[in-house]
């Protein structure tokens, strides 16, 4: 497991996925086996019922985040991966949902 290091930043990775039953398990398994903790996670519907958007909050150094994005992009059910800017977007969307 990776330990937090000074300089690690909080990032929110936004992942557009096929809306398959096991897609969340794939994402979570990937983060776990690469040694990254998921701080929080949210699955949202998008306009198309075949797709979903998963927002994953994680901590890591720049290279860790880049590596995790590349790893996530390799999943067959992943259509797009991006880093959310501004960084507060996740918190806002959570509070709206609540």
């Amino acid at each position: 497991m990776r330990q937090f290091k000074p300089g690690d930043s909080r990032e929110v990775v936004s992942v557009l996925v096929n809306n398959e039953m096991d897609v969340l398990a794939r994402l979570v398994t990937l983060f776990t086996r690469r040694g990254y903790n998921i701080e929080s996670l949210k699955v949202e519907q998008v306009g198309n019922p075949d797709m979903s958007c998963v927002k994953i909050e994680m901590y890591g150094a720049e290279n860790d985040i880049a590596q995790m994005i590349r790893q996530t992009r390799k999943l067959v059910d992943v259509l797009d991966v991006s880093l959310l800017e501004p960084r507060c977007a996740f918190r806002e969307s959570v509070s709206i949902a609540q």
Partner: protein, 556 residues
């Protein structure tokens, strides 16, 4: 036409030009195996001793032929037995298709007899997997599975189909490919500017080196040799790329890493430009990632973008098929002569490795070198994992080019016999030699029944030192000779065990006895085992301890 799910699976396999399947039947797979029986003229099924052996056999088949390997298993334990085989193929990027049949849809989630959530269990060890409980999805999923397994960085794919789907009917139009899911396509086009920039670095280098990994495809061999000659560059490689460039090629300095040659490891340290092709710089290669090729501008080419900066930080990354990249780079490379650098190579290559242990038993290097000297040039060598694997990788190549099949990434003891069976089935006209150790072989010798059933002339060379050699070596060096669980005192008589299976058994305690046994084994139509005794104090050298660098290398 109206087909059942089972008929559709068989149909799709033949459409994708599969003619051999390894596997093991069972309750849920009854319909699937029934259709396999009806189509035995198109599809040969090889029954193994267990599903793990079947997965390794499909793996060995794929590695030795370049085609996808296919394995069938039933639900529950049949499916879980595949896991080590899938993980082995995953770590070495081998294209496999595993088809498992789960319990019927109405029983899923009820802890039914032999029910297991195999897609969940194999998520971390497959490139992708599919659970199919709807016959309508089956055609698209099967086509997708072939595509995913073989495209980009290849890997194993598992398709789990419920029993009711194998029996259900579907109206199928042949040749129609409707993808199940739209996958994202990786852009893999290196630009002209990138090629020029990389060529400039190589053209200006005084001490260039090419470092080759298992991701480099055989079709790139010729352009690569042209590149080496044109730019006058030495080459080093990982154990996974062993055999790609002949060891008899004077530019080849051998293996880099923990048991790499003095020449290869030192060259990586001294190089000013390193072009890495299809390698992830694993911890057995770049033991200390910060010190790896420390003086070099590092250029990494890989089809998998997640290989970049995963282990070693590089200066340039190119997402492309490594073999295609070399072909594209070639016109940008200038003809060069690096006389001083070549002189250094010659000097480094004098550090040969020969065991000087005082023993009447044959030395490991003699066993491997004698094997290679007597075998045909196109022999396929398959190993298990441990000391014998490293000796094989180090010494086989002193003679000629070869095909070397080994579990590099996962390091799976017990991989060898299954993989050798797959290689022999895929290459009936070639000699397959399985090099193993006594403890690795204890993990897979039950596959002898498969080799006997199909009269496969595989020669298994069992290097018997009566201990768990590699760990024993570590305990000798690091644990003050406290041999915890590495000296089991086994009394296995391999000749008798082999004969019990119907194998020709031999035992050799001297070099000449070994040569005689090998000569005799080469005349047998079925499988042979040659047990050759070696001393337990033989070590794999050179040896860089984990996390160390070339300065920490133990040479003798």
């Amino acid at each position: 036409m109206e087909l059942t799910g089972a008929q559709l699976i068989i149909r799709k396999l033949t459409e994708h030009k599969v003619n051999t399947v390894f596997g093991y039947p069972g309750g849920t797979a009854l319909d699937l195996f029934d259709d396999l029986y009806k189509h035995s003229d198109q599809l040969t099924h090889i029954l193994t001793a267990d599903e793990c052996g079947a997965a390794h056999a499909a793996d060995g088949y794929s590695r030795s032929t370049g085609d996808i390997g296919v394995v069938f298993a039933t639900s529950g334990p049949g499916a879980t037995n595949l896991i080590t085989g899938l993980a082995t193929a995953f770590m070495d990027s081998v294209p496999l298709l595993a088809i498992t049949v789960n319990v019927s849809k109405n029983l899923i989630g009820h802890d039914a007899f032999q029910e297991i959530y195999i897609t969940g269990a194999t998520m971390p060890v497959t490139k992708h997997n599919y659970f199919v409980d709807d016959i309508g999805k089956l055609p698209g999923v099967l086509d997708d599975a072939f595509k995913v397994a073989q495209s980009g960085r290849p890997g194993p794919v598992l398709v789990d189909v419920t029993k009711d789907v194998t029996a259900a009917g579907i109206d199928y139009s042949p040749g129609e490919y409707i993808p199940h899911q739209a996958g994202r396509k990786v852009q893999t086009k290196v630009t002209r500017n990138e090629l020029q920039a990389i060529a400039d670095k190589i053209n200006a280098a005084k001490k260039p080196v090419i470092f080759l990994g298992g991701g480099f495809a055989a079709r790139g061999r010729q352009p690569l040799i042209e590149l080496l000659n044109k730019a006058d560059i030495p080459i080093t490689h990982t154990i996974m790329a062993a055999g790609m460039i002949g060891f008899d090629n004077p530019r080849n300095l051998g293996i880099v890493g923990m048991h790499g040659s003095v020449a290869a490891n030192t060259t990586m340290d001294e190089a000013d430009v390193m072009l890495a092709l299809g390698t992830r710089f694993s911890d057995r290669v770049a033991l200390d990632p910060d010190k790896f090729a420390k003086n070099a501008v590092k250029i990494q080419v890989d089809i998998d973008e997640s290989a970049f900066n995963k282990n070693v930080q590089v200066d340039h990354m190119v997402v492309d098929d490594a073999a295609d990249f070399v072909r594209k780079l070639l016109p940008f490379i200038e003809e060069k002569h690096h006389d001083a650098w070549n002189e250094r190579m010659l000097q480094l290559k004098k550090h040969g490795i020969t065991s000087d242990l005082d023993t009447p038993l044959p030395h490991p290097d003699e066993v491997i070198r004698d094997t290679c000297a007597m075998a045909d040039k196109d022999t396929i060598y398959v190993t298990d994992v441990g000391q014998h694997q490293m000796w094989a990788a180090q010494f086989l190549g002193d003679h000629n080019t070869y095909k070397f099949i080994t579990s590099g990434g996962l390091g799976t003891m017990g991989f060898g016999y299954g993989a050798a069976i797959g290689a022999q089935i895929g290459n009936p006209d070639k000699r397959v030699i399985h090099i193993t150790g006594d403890v690795s072989f204890h993990m897979c010798l039950n596959e002898a029944c498969t080799a006997v059933s199909h009269d496969l002339p595989i020669i298994t060379v069992i290097m018997n030192n009566s201990v768990l050699g590699m760990v024993y070596q570590w305990q000798t060096i690091f644990k003050d000779k406290r041999y915890s669980a590495t000296d089991p005192g086994r009394k296995t008589d391999f000749v008798k065990v082999g004969e019990g299976f119907g194998v020709h058994g031999y035992r050799a305690e001297t070099r000449s006895e070994y040569i005689e046994a090998l000569k005799s084994a080469m005349k047998n139509s079925g499988p042979s085992w040659i047990e050759v005794k070696i001393d337990r104090n033989e070590k794999v050298l050179p040896f860089i301890p984990g996390g160390g660098s070339t300065e920490d290398m133990i040479i003798g």
